[in-house]
Symmetry: C2
């Protein structure tokens, strides 16, 4: 027997309450019982998104489905869309835009550079006909936190331009005031801050986004927002929903309501800070720039001469602690420690201890326990 | 406490083994453990589809997602597609075709009339440039079983025309020899014969369908078949999969392999016959025509003067047995008894007994026990 710990930036650990809720005997989805589940999920998500004035769509799909829905529902072929890109998932929005025949104007940053809102302002001045701006709030691949609030203020001045935010790894870990910040379509996935298995995605739709929808000519059916809105008005879904996951979502939203959004964000901020302090105390260098470090995931450079893939492998196979490696150009070069969703102080302690033991075994020199000492100091402040 | 019985044509009852498998602690999807799950699911589905020479794609979506994938991956705007339609889900394929700018040639039958293969042959003669033929094998809404084998023989003669079969409610309940019958894209959903919660869909892709794919210019990303094929070659998925449902699928495919496809189909045939005989013994009229009655669901006319919605409601609320009502024009006029997936002899007995008790309460005159007697006779033959 080896106890397992999941410290990846998605999927995240699912609380037993939620695991058991979704393991209940199956019920039919066109029943009053399930209507209540749909209503609870929609209402709860609106709170989590801080989007009282937006509609919410819940899809049986991965997060990518919600990303595609934003493109297919808001635009026409040939539309100019400004896509900011500092990681794998920003890049995916570029790919989806191209797949749908849009003309993405790509603001490409390195994976270690935050989106600069001034660049967005300039791009919009140069392209006043742009129909959308897309930003990833919390980049899973690079750990970067982009300032979507600042970008939102800029996009607000363009009445025909919608602001689309991929907050798949953000919602439930970092602050995201969808309506207040002028986000017209904000999306998330179930396997992150919502503490569920993957398989559900959700997005918000503002009044401005509905205007874009009315103009949009791109083909859509399964992800057609209007079908979800019309059915949600009757507490139901246009297509057979992922019943067990929705029942799990209702349960996890209940847990989130009990804790309260502010407390949830504060908990994540503390855990993230503990991981960062611990890594730096061990002598590891943080990957994301100081001005853009999120609460969801901490990417860390693997020390010179060590193999990051081996590090991840030892942590998983010897110690039972699963973290993520680097993606694309950073495979083997960085590790990513996820600390979002159902994570508490001692999950961080476990993860840092396993990291210390693994680094020792790999011959990296540092004072054993120094990471834990730094983490404890942060955690005690809370 | 009221024991609950789910006798709808999807979602269907999920075996406890599967419920528990999908309630296991979450694991990460980019790991050898999960690679094995992906491989097991793909291999198992190929057997279930009888499609050794086709590729298989597994989506985190409802069945409708797989339906949309067939359209988006095979065609170009303006393509002529012959869509056969004798129920709500055939109609959905017409709607999806239109949403994607195709020119559907609709062969519309009533909900009680089987697709006539001669009509398809004629439509193809008149439209030799048609790029596809779409048939629903087992119509959930009308219970009709269409002869896709016969249609497949016709479409085979048209090298540039793909044969698309919605077998969402068929696979695992009725015979469907995907490759042998010349089906280029056959789809199913998890909440039917696969005995899983809803949230997964799958489709097969033949060589001919890949040729259509290469020509297709319709936009696609989340449902892009090629991405699934490329990733499946590495035992993984292009986007975060529905991990818990996939783990459940691997478990249910194991159960199906133990029983064997032939035995599974034979079991469904017997259960369907028992339900039909029981209903007729009670004096109820079957909705589907004699030449097209499937094994998955039996729609039955509600006796004159009775309210079908009330019947469904009493069965559910008083007796704990959930069956489905009629859809669209047949709401309140027919009931639909599902008997697919994890269903055994005594589920049929329970359902018929509840139906008898409900009909008695509603004042319908018949000999109590006559339905059960007829069902027992069929079940004993097995």
């Amino acid at each position: 027997m080896k106890k397992r710990y999941l410290m990846t930036p998605g999927p995240t650990t699912v609380p037993s309450e939620v695991l058991l809720a979704q393991a209940k005997p199956m019920i039919h989805h066109r029943t009053p019982d399930f209507n209540q589940v749909v209503r609870d999920c929609a209402d709860g998500l609106k709170e989590v998104f801080c989007a009282p004035n937006s509609d919410v769509c819940i899809f049986a799909s991965s997060g990518t489905g919600a990303m595609e829905s934003a493109i297919a529902n808001c635009f026409c072929p040939g539309d100019k869309v400004i896509v900011c890109y500092n990681g794998k998932f920003g890049q995916r929005m570029v790919q989806i835009s191209k797949a749908y025949g849009l003309e993405p104007i790509v603001l490409e940053y390195g994976w270690q550079v935050c989106v600069n809102p001034d660049d967005v302002a300039k791009a919009l001045e140069e392209n006043p006909d742009a129909r959308g701006v897309v930003v990833t709030q919390s980049e899973t691949s690079s750990g970067i936190l982009n300032d979507v609030e600042a970008v939102g203020k800029i996009v607000k001045n363009y009445p025909d331009c919608v602001f689309i935010v991929d907050s798949i790894t953000g919602i439930g870990a970092v602050e995201c005031k969808t309506d207040e910040w002028g986000i017209d379509c904000c999306m998330t996935g179930s396997q992150k801050g919502l503490m569920l298995p993957p398989g559900l995605a959700a997005c918000t739709v503002s009044e401005k986004a509905w205007k874009a929808y009315e103009r949009s000519t791109l083909p859509k059916f399964y992800f057609d927002w209007k079908k979800y809105k019309a059915n949600l008005a009757k507490d139901t879904t246009p297509f057979t929903p992922a019943v067990s996951l929705m029942i799990g979502l209702a349960e996890s939203l209940k847990l989130m309501k009990e804790e309260g959004m502010e407390n949830i964000i504060a908990r994540h901020a503390k855990l993230a800070e503990a991981v960062r302090q611990a890594c730096e105390a061990i002598g590891l260098e943080l990957f994301a720039p100081a001005e853009g470090r999120g609460n969801a995931v901490t990417p860390v450079w693997v020390p010179e001469g060590l193999d990051g893939k081996q590090l991840v492998s030892i942590m998983k196979n010897k110690y039972g602690v699963t973290i993520a490696g680097g993606q694309e150009d950073y495979a083997g070069k960085i590790i990513r420690i996820g600390h979002l969703g159902y994570v508490g102080d001692f999950d961080v302690i476990v993860c840092i201890a396993a990291l210390e033991m693994t680094l020792k075994e790999m011959g990296y020199e540092f004072e054993a326990g120094s990471g834990i000492k730094a983490a404890e100091a942060v955690l005690m402040e809370g």
